[in-house]
């Protein structure tokens, strides 16, 4: 069976904030009955296994697929090709259709990635997390995710684009949206495990949205190992590099801090060439932790190879941070260092992050509508050229001045 009927038609996300995540089960129950209130998103068929067997599943799948029209290519990632699309019922409602590539490892046609993405994304309903509208399979048994269309590029593209100027208040605004997304995932018991600038997409209204849940999973039970080989290298926390298989939300917090630092630096914060080099790049800044700094560190799988006979390294002083990240201010630096405590047990939780004084201190985060964004620079310049030579930005003074006769 290609798709379990339970997973096949992706229900619409829960409607009200209050009910979301009060409990998973409740949210799902609401999903079910909110269908009667029905947006165009809602698939109409019911889902009961065994009810109509495979035929019903296929029938439902077709029904879901027919709700969307897919168009030109938007981009391609490692595991998927993304197409532009829209609701058949309303062509102004744009979507991005992410068609997973066939993966040899999963011959039945479903990649683990897409299952993860569906499972977790469908339960998360927050303005800073990309919305999953639906899931369907195509004739070649390939899974397609119908996602919210986010046309303004990603955060990495944004800091790399030097035609865009931004400051401390803008950084705080983007960072806050990111931290809210992470907090919401963790509150919903989901680890993202691939937080990085290019997985943070920007909506038409400048809202930052956490995307790409291909590596996400639920929090594991104690005693159940998880892979330590997750998170893109530059953003991977020390405990994963040391081989920890029992970790928690702290891994995402480290990555999040890297993204914030990156925004302020307009460069990668801890770049390296290899996994091995990554630890030394990290310890150059944070020092090599001892058993006292990080109780139990020597029992981690890769501790011996990396740290046992390494020459001691001291962490960089506050002056290093002030000099490298002046845009964050002392409070921002304090937050960042709290998010990057080497010992994950000492690292701030997402909730503690959002309760940090940095957010409410001066400067106030830029309002979403005032954030700089990609594409604006060119447009603005074009408009400037269109205006008559020497004409100033419109305002009362120049209108009066223009009446003067200088001849």
């Amino acid at each position: 069976m290609a798709v379990s009927p339970v997973l096949s038609p992706k229900p619409n996300p829960p409607g009200t904030k209050a009910t979301t995540n009060a409990s998973k089960a409740k949210a799902l129950a609401i999903l079910n009955h909110s269908r009667s209130v029905s947006s165009p998103i809602a698939p109409s068929a019911a889902t009961t296994p065994g009810d109509g067997g495979q035929d019903l599943a296929e029938q439902m799948n077709d029904e879901v697929r027919r709700q969307f029209v897919s168009g030109s290519r938007l981009g391609e990632g490692t595991y998927a090709i993304v197409y532009r699309g829209h609701f058949r019922s309303d062509p102004s409602k744009l979507v991005a259709i992410k068609k997973m590539k066939l993966n040899a490892e999963f011959k039945d046609g479903i990649t683990l990635d897409s299952i993860r993405e569906m499972r977790h994304l469908c339960e998360l309903d927050h303005p800073n997390i990309i919305k999953l509208y639906a899931v369907f399979t195509t004739k070649d048994q390939n899974i397609s995710l119908v996602l919210e269309h986010l046309p303004r590029g990603d955060l990495e593209g944004l800091w790399k684009d030097h035609s865009i100027m931004y400051g401390g208040a803008d950084i705080k605004s983007w960072s806050n949206m990111l931290c809210q997304a992470v907090w919401f995932c963790h509150e919903s018991r989901v680890l993202h495990r691939d937080i990085k600038g290019n997985n943070l997409l920007i909506a038409a209204d400048n809202t930052l949205k956490l995307a790409d849940f291909g590596l996400a999973r639920g929090f594991a039970d104690p005693g159940r190992p998880m892979t330590s080989n997750v998170i893109t290298r530059f953003y991977r926390p020390p405990e994963l590099l040391l081989g920890s298989q029992h970790y928690g939300g702290c891994v995402d917090i480290w990555s999040t801090a890297c993204v914030i630092a990156e925004l302020a630096l307009r460069d990668f914060f801890l770049p390296s060439e290899t996994d091995l080099a990554q630890l030394s790049v990290i310890t150059d800044v944070f020092g090599i932790p001892t058993e006292t700094d990080w109780p139990g560190i020597s029992s981690l799988r890769h501790w011996e190879v990396n740290f046992k006979s390494a020459a001691p390294k001291r962490p960089q002083p506050l002056s290093f941070w002030r000099q490298r990240l002046p845009l964050l201010g002392d409070d921002g630096i304090d937050l960042l260092r709290g998010m990057m405590a080497m010992d994950p047990a000492k690292r701030l939780s997402a909730e503690q992050v959002l309760k940090h004084a940095y957010w409410t201190n001066y400067p106030r985060p830029t309002k979403k509508e005032d954030l700089p964004r990609q594409g604006d620079g060119e447009k603005k310049m074009g408009e400037d050229l269109k205006r008559a030579g020497g004409e100033l930005e419109s305002g009362r003074t120049d209108k009066v001045a223009r009446k003067l006769n200088f001849g």
Partner: protein, 355 residues
């Protein structure tokens, strides 16, 4: 008033432009034609070289190519930078140009933007007035009100430029500025600055009331701290100028403090979280360095376990029955059932998920 010309529905206004405001119109022409005609009277050759000689120290740009001329908007008499330094470095001093008795301050000197000092002065005046009268069309009830406002402002400009009723205008401008400040910062003490009584030629002044009726008001010296019209009512406050149809400015609502959670909160509804629980199995895991050093937070597990255990409390069979009734038989009673299947399905994936 190009703004007026472009404003929608302003065609009527355009027609009026020629007739309705003969005063400003004629003044307009006067000023624009004045300067060229005067300039033509001066001998061109002389005018050229004189512009390069400092009227105070007579040094010339010919000998000193770096020489820079400065003007002070108090009187617009031009002089060279070194003269300004010499004369005004020790504090305010009278203008050194014969016949000019104005006291000048060094800080106010600046280089000249326009060749013609008349233009320079006019632009300065307009800039100052425009700063004080920065209302937008949306601040007025109707376009006509806005146009009348622009007309009145233009009159102020020309009064200042041509030196008509300067003192009275200045006085009203001061009141206007005061009222603006009070409006922008309502918390500041509403203090009517004691006007320079010597300038108040009489004990009376004129304000333009709503509906353009003029009214004389007695300024009693005893009422210096109070609103001269009695009562603290804004509408009755003397703001120097009154414009018909000007909407009352609403004090901007103080911005709420930034909420880093943006209104979201997630609190358990059916249980309270203790933070730590003791159970043999928990304790073993809690004391395992692979867990505590690896970043595993038992509290995250406790709260998830609690949430799962109490999750069912959030299902309201009654709601689902209602939903079923409205939906028809198709979806009958599926809420709870499908929750169960999703949960089961989910666990299945979990089992296989060693990643």
């Amino acid at each position: 008033m190009s703004k007026v010309a472009r404003a929608p529905g302003a065609s009527k206004r355009l027609a009026e432009d020629g007739g309705a405001s003969p005063l400003s119109n004629s003044l307009h022409h006067l000023s624009l034609q004045q300067s060229p005609s005067k300039a033509s009277k001066a001998t061109p050759a002389f005018a050229d070289s004189s512009s390069d000689i400092c009227p105070v120290c007579k040094s010339s740009r010919y000998l000193n190519p770096n020489m820079k001329f400065l003007v002070n908007p108090e009187c617009y008499h031009k002089m060279c930078e070194s003269c300004v330094d010499r004369i005004f470095s020790h504090g305010p001093a009278p203008c050194p140009i014969a016949g000019c008795k104005r006291t000048l301050r060094k800080a106010k000197f600046r280089s000249q933007t326009f060749e013609d000092l008349k233009v320079e002065r006019e632009v300065d005046i307009r800039r100052r007035v425009a700063k004080l009268f920065d209302k937008q069309e949306s601040d007025f009830e109707t376009l006509i009100d806005y146009n009348n406002y622009l007309e009145q402002v233009e009159e102020i400009n020309w009064n200042l430029i041509l030196g008509i009723d300067v003192e009275k205008t200045e006085q009203r401008l001061r009141k206007w500025e005061e009222a603006r400040k009070a409006d922008l910062n309502p918390n500041a003490i509403r203090r009517v600055t004691e006007p320079d009584t010597s300038q108040l030629s009489d004990t009376s002044h004129v304000i333009l009331k709503k509906g353009a009726t003029q009214r004389k008001v007695l300024m009693s010296s005893s009422a210096s701290n109070l609103n001269p019209l009695g009562g603290g009512d804004d509408a009755e406050r003397d703001t120097g100028f009154v414009f018909r149809g000007l909407k009352k400015r609403k004090a901007p609502e103080p911005e709420k403090p930034f909420d880093p959670f943006d209104g979201w909160s997630i609190e358990p509804q059916y249980y309270s979280f203790q933070g730590d629980y003791n159970h043999n199995w928990f304790t073993a895991m809690k004391n395992d360095p692979q867990h505590y050093a690896g970043g595993y937070d038992m509290r995250e597990y406790y709260s998830r376990a609690l949430c799962d255990a109490f999750g069912g409390m959030g299902i309201f069979i009654e709601d689902e029955m209602t939903a079923r009734d409205t939906q028809g038989f198709d979806d009958a009673g599926l809420g709870t059932q499908s929750v169960a299947t999703v949960a089961a399905g989910g666990r299945d994936v979990d089992m296989a998920d060693i990643f």
